[in-house]
């Protein structure tokens, strides 16, 4: 096929991810679920930011009897060391968002970069990168995260690194596909002809055109990263005591769950609500930014 024919065939779709301008108001009305999701996420973020102001006690201050039932002084009761459960839940939002956010940033930075590079250069770069990602994909995510944290020694930072590594391949795959489509388009050729260096072409012309699916995946990954952090901390391989982390609180409460179900139920509910928020928001963003991929 000649160059011209190929061009003609590609002519109708200028970019792999068309930028639509949907009516946001109509969207809000049509998809109240997304708004609920955004609200939940916003609420958790706010709670994390103003934790110091709204928490009635310090996250680690032991000034009450252990395992108190909820009452007026301790709205959610106290944990097994006499710390105020509500305050720890509030501070826990910080840890979850911090670890989740940084882990996803690591995954996005490593994954998207290698995905775009692989798609842009093709050939052996593509082959090597994607085979490495395939190997990382051959592990159940949490098992690989457990292996990495156990080898790096359990800590908050290492949990973050582990989660980042484990979720990088998803971003690589998601970035690579549209990049492959974009690099064949005329405007990339034009940029080359003008003499732009490769890194500039990637940054200015490729990345903006493959960012929509990446944004969606980032939101969805935040929910999985928060879940994974909670799971690792629950297993004692993530955040270490006495830091207030929802997974850790849940794991400590496990021993007392039949004595005091409150402290075993509340941290889990906090995790579930946060994850739900990110899931709903992710679903909504997917519909908004990328109408072609239907919700699973």
């Amino acid at each position: 096929m000649s160059r011209v024919e190929a061009e003609l065939r590609d002519a109708p779709r200028q970019s792999a991810w068309p930028v639509r301008r949907p009516g946001y108001r109509r969207f809000v009305r049509r998809s109240p679920v997304t708004v609920i999701g955004a609200g939940l996420v916003l609420a958790v973020v706010l709670v994390a930011i103003v934790a110091q102001i709204i928490a009635p006690y310090g996250p680690n201050s032991q000034d009450a009897q252990p395992l108190l039932r909820p009452d007026r002084r301790h709205l959610a009761g106290t944990d097994e060391l006499g710390r105020d459960e509500l305050s720890r839940l509030i501070y826990g939002a910080r840890v979850s968002l911090y670890v989740g956010g940084l882990a996803v940033s690591i995954a996005l930075a490593c994954g998207a970069t290698s995905g775009v590079l692989a798609g842009f250069y093709g050939g052996w770069v593509d082959n090597v990168t994607m085979r490495i990602m395939d190997v990382l994909f051959s592990f159940p995510a949490i098992v690989l995260a457990i292996a990495i944290t156990s080898i790096l020694r359990p800590s908050l930072t290492n949990a973050m690194i582990a989660i980042g590594i484990v979720y990088a391949p998803i971003f690589a795959r998601i970035a690579r596909g549209p990049t492959l489509a974009v690099v064949t388009l005329a405007y990339i050729e034009a940029a080359r002809a003008v003499g732009l260096p490769n890194w500039k072409i990637m940054l200015r012309h490729v990345v903006p055109n493959v960012s929509a699916p990446l944004i969606v995946q980032t939101t969805v990954s935040l929910s999985t990263a928060i879940l994974t952090e909670a799971a690792l901390s629950f297993l004692g391989l993530g955040t270490q005591p006495p830091t207030a982390s929802w997974g850790l609180m849940l794991s400590a409460a496990r021993q007392y769950m039949l004595l005091d179900p409150w402290i075993a139920v509340l941290p889990g509910a906090a995790i579930a609500l946060t994850v739900l928020g990110f899931n709903l928001l992710g679903d909504g963003l997917r519909d908004l930014l990328d109408p072609r991929i239907r919700t699973l």
Binding site: P140, V143, I146, A231, F234, L235, L258, G268, A272
Partner: protein, 315 residues
């Protein structure tokens, strides 16, 4: 056939990569393995250290170590546990059935919950049922399985005064007791996966039900259930199986945590105990086995496509 061979070769290559990654990871352990084993940093004379290194084959170049490790593994030798000196392979093989039982029961449970609810949601006119299914789908996606496990234990003991036996019983010893013990772990694992299957079933069914051939089948007077099962569901199954396959990683990962919560001495439990005791041969073997299980289930899922949809003939 050619596809099958290629797919198998590809699986082998992936497993080779996996083994290399695990090998490299274990070499990254801070401090040499000798200090980890003896726990006596600085108390060994250089000669003792050297002898120990030699006895573990750790004085050889890394590529040789890797080749030896791989060769031993292929012969079913995964090394010996640091703690109990038991052969790791034997230990893992003895734990495997529990994990497999848990996983298989979960997949059955997921199918039994997810498929019918998804199909129901796709054909019903009842708003209440639709909302109910949607809520189950969202809740299932967001609830961490370890929390589901804890809540199930609390509910079972408080509301039903039901405490399954604590000591694990194999199905060969006593099937009813075993199933009773498995019920809560399976349920806690199945909830999240069922939500995924349910959502996929619903959207996939909705898409298929709008197709012309379904209308033709209805028009020629086939009974409703035949149209639904033979024409619609069969074609809707492919994306459902895909999603189920993608969730195998979640399932196998969930198994680790669930076994820990419910004290089921399976593969995940063994892995975690290895991690807690810094028993690296056990960790290494268990992680490898998890990867093998994962890769094999993915292979199995890929092969079922060709069965479900004869049109799929991979080049």
């Amino acid at each position: 056939m050619r596809y099958l061979v290629r797919r198998l070769l590809w699986t082998l290559a992936a497993l080779l990569g996996v083994s290399l990654l695990i090998f490299v990871l274990v070499r990254l352990i801070p401090g040499t393995i000798i200090e980890v084993i003896t726990g006596t940093e600085g108390q060994l004379s250089p000669q003792q250290r050297l002898d120990l290194l030699r006895s573990f084959g750790l004085d050889r170049p890394l590529p040789v170590q890797y080749a030896l490790w791989l060769w031993n593994m292929l012969q079913g030798n995964l090394g010996w546990s640091f703690r109990t000196s038991q052969p790791v392979a034997g230990l893992l093989v003895s734990r495997l059935p529990i994990t497999v039982e848990l996983a298989v029961l979960t997949v059955i449970c997921v199918t039994l919950i997810g498929l019918p609810l998804g199909v129901a949601a796709s054909i019903t006119r009842s708003v209440r049922l639709k909302t109910f299914v949607q809520i189950i789908g969202l809740v299932g996606l967001s609830v961490p399985n370890f929390w589901a496990g804890i809540v199930l234990i609390i509910v079972a003991s408080f509301a039903f005064h039901w405490f399954p036996a604590l000591i694990f019983v194999t199905p060969w010893q006593d099937l009813p007791v075993n199933l009773e013990q498995m019920s809560l772990p399976v349920l806690s694992l199945a909830l999240g996966l069922a939500a995924v299957v349910l959502r996929m079933t619903r959207s996939s069914m909705l898409e298929v039900l709008g197709q012309d051939y379904v209308r033709v089948a209805q028009a020629k007077g086939l009974s409703h259930s035949i149209v639904l099962l033979r024409h619609a569901l069969r074609n809707a199954l492919i994306p459902i199986v895909t999603v189920l396959g993608l969730q195998m990683g979640t399932l196998l990962g969930g198994v680790v945590i669930t076994e820990q919560i419910f004290g089921l001495p399976g593969l995940g439990w063994t892995l975690l105990n290895g991690v807690y005791q810094r028993d690296y041969p056990v960790v290494q073997g268990a992680v490898m086995l998890f990867a093998v299980l994962f890769v094999l289930t993915n292979l199995f899922v890929d092969l079922t496509y060709t069965y479900l949809d004869p049109r799929i003939r991979y080049q």
